[in-house]
Amino acid sequence: MNERFEIPGSLKRTSMILLGIGIVTLVLGIALLLGGDSYDKTRFWAVLLHNSVFFTLITTASVFIQAASSLAQGGWIVAYRRVPEAIGANVWLFGLIAAIVMFLIVFVFRIDGKNPIYEWVTPGNDAALMHKKPFLNPGMFVGLTLVTVGLWAFFGWKFRALSIAQESAPKNNAKIYWTFFRLSGVFLLIYALTQMSTTPWMWIMSVQPHWYSTMFSWYTWASAFVSGMSLILLWVVYLKNQGKLELVTKEHIHDLGKFMFAFTIFWTYVWFCQYMLIWYANIPEETVAFKLRQQGPYSIIFYANFIINFIMPFLILMARPSKRNYFTVTFIAMLIIFGHWLDFYQMIMPGPLGEHWHLGWFEMGIFAGFVGILIFSVSRTLASASLVAQNNILLKETIIHIS
């Protein structure tokens, strides 16, 4: 079995070109935007925040899917489990970038003594912000961010290390399997307390500190998870095209497609629940967020978001043959990743930028740069170990898997 992945020159070149575009865009951004007016400066930092947080969350979704399937004792994932492992092992990189960007925004970025992105850093005598101060303050922000990113990165690294340790363990030895099982429970608890509740409030929702929604973290999680699954699928299809991952059959692709389909609906469900409760209650301090997004300058993104992230994947992936077709699943996976990138865009931008938003060279360039980092780091990690989890005790289960 051809189980070793050597990074093809074309992939390396692509990642280098994307990375180059990202660096050039960053340099141009520093020159053009940081020297511009206050909205240009805000745009510079907001775009960095948007992309680094988005990529941190979608890579962490890979750690989550490993933990969830391990706790459910699912065997089907074993055929391609080196892919989520490799993505999860690189959470530290994106987490580090996100933490640096956010700390710079919190501590360095000021315009006229005010912080235009995280308004709560400089609350003045705003009663509402003073009331939220026990949660929204720089000390808490730094502490929670470091703990969150540190734990995610640790588990991402640990899961891969355990899986590789299984290769040299005696055959059918379940010791590592049960260690992994227990650690998965711990990780899910941590994940529930960070990604699914506090972290998105702190990182994203607090760009509009007067607005709040208790469903916000669920909504962010659904977004991150469905794009994380799409990311895994893109890597699996890529490796399949390279002639690797022989154990992956149409049945596995079908199940990945089902995950994308199901969590597209879940995302819509949560998105709509948040929207409808706020619409129905009609409380001014809650509706202000949707006023800006739905009827204000962002309405085009608001509706595009709904069409790209719900209607298209829903209608296209509904039929069984389209979930088993490499072209349609790849197309939808790319669409979902772009759509949820747009979703994160409209979570973050309306607060600091208002009507002065752009979706131009800087946004796309930084996105390309992050994609370059992702391809570069994940392909290196993939190449560092066997692509088949040879000695995994669920290997047989994954070979005979029927979706």
Partner: protein, 192 residues
């Protein structure tokens, strides 16, 4: 609805059943159906059934549910009996989404269940012939249809060669009927 003659073979092992199914299909005898005590994965493929179109029926039922809900609510709340709920517009689509969703699911689920029952000929109170009482216990029971083109003894001997534990020839109703087993079933056991 027809009374037909069947050769019946009982197997006690999946590993024997699958090659037997392949042999019967290869030989050209007409496979009527196979009755198993539990769902056997891959048996539908082995028998040559194509993918079911049940989900297309489900999609159509779902669309019926969606249009029923949206049509009915919008007729009530904008035409027949408009009510002012907290100053919301009469055509308040977000508020209707939950009901639309529920009716879509309800129509799709109920419609698919009934289609499934119809296609498989099962319904409360409706009877189907039981080829062997142990088909719900530990036997995989295969019924092969006999007609004027095949020799009864050839088929039975062929089935025995494929590893059947028990064989028999029966004249029975091939589809469903409403009534009682003891009074209305036109069943004859011809040979063991």
């Amino acid at each position: 609805m027809a009374i037909k003659k069947f050769a019946v073979a009982c197997y006690d092992d999946e590993a024997v059943l699958f090659p037997a199914v392949a042999k019967v299909r290869h030989s050209g005898y007409k496979l009527h159906d196979i009755y198993t005590p539990f769902a056997v994965h891959g048996l539908d493929n082995a028998m040559g059934h194509k993918e079911s179109d049940l989900h297309i029926a489900g999609f159509i039922f779902g669309l019926c549910g969606t249009s029923t809900a949206v049509g009915f609510i919008s007729w009530i709340l904008t035409g027949d009996w408009p009510i002012n709920f907290g100053g919301k517009p009469h055509f308040a689509l977000p508020a209707w989404i939950p009901i639309t969703f529920e009716l879509t699911v309800l129509f799709a689920a109920v419609g698919m269940t009934m289609t499934f029952c119809y296609l498989n000929q099962i319904m409360p109170g409706v009877k189907k012939h039981v080829f062997h009482p142990r088909q719900s216990d530990d036997y995989f029971v295969m019924a092969v249809e006999l007609n004027e083109h095949v020799n009864e003894n050839d088929v039975v001997n062929f089935l025995k060669e494929t590893g059947a534990k028990e064989t028999s020839v029966q004249i029975a109703e091939d589809s469903w009927w409403y009534g009682r087993f003891d009074k209305t079933e036109p069943y004859q056991l011809l040979g063991q």
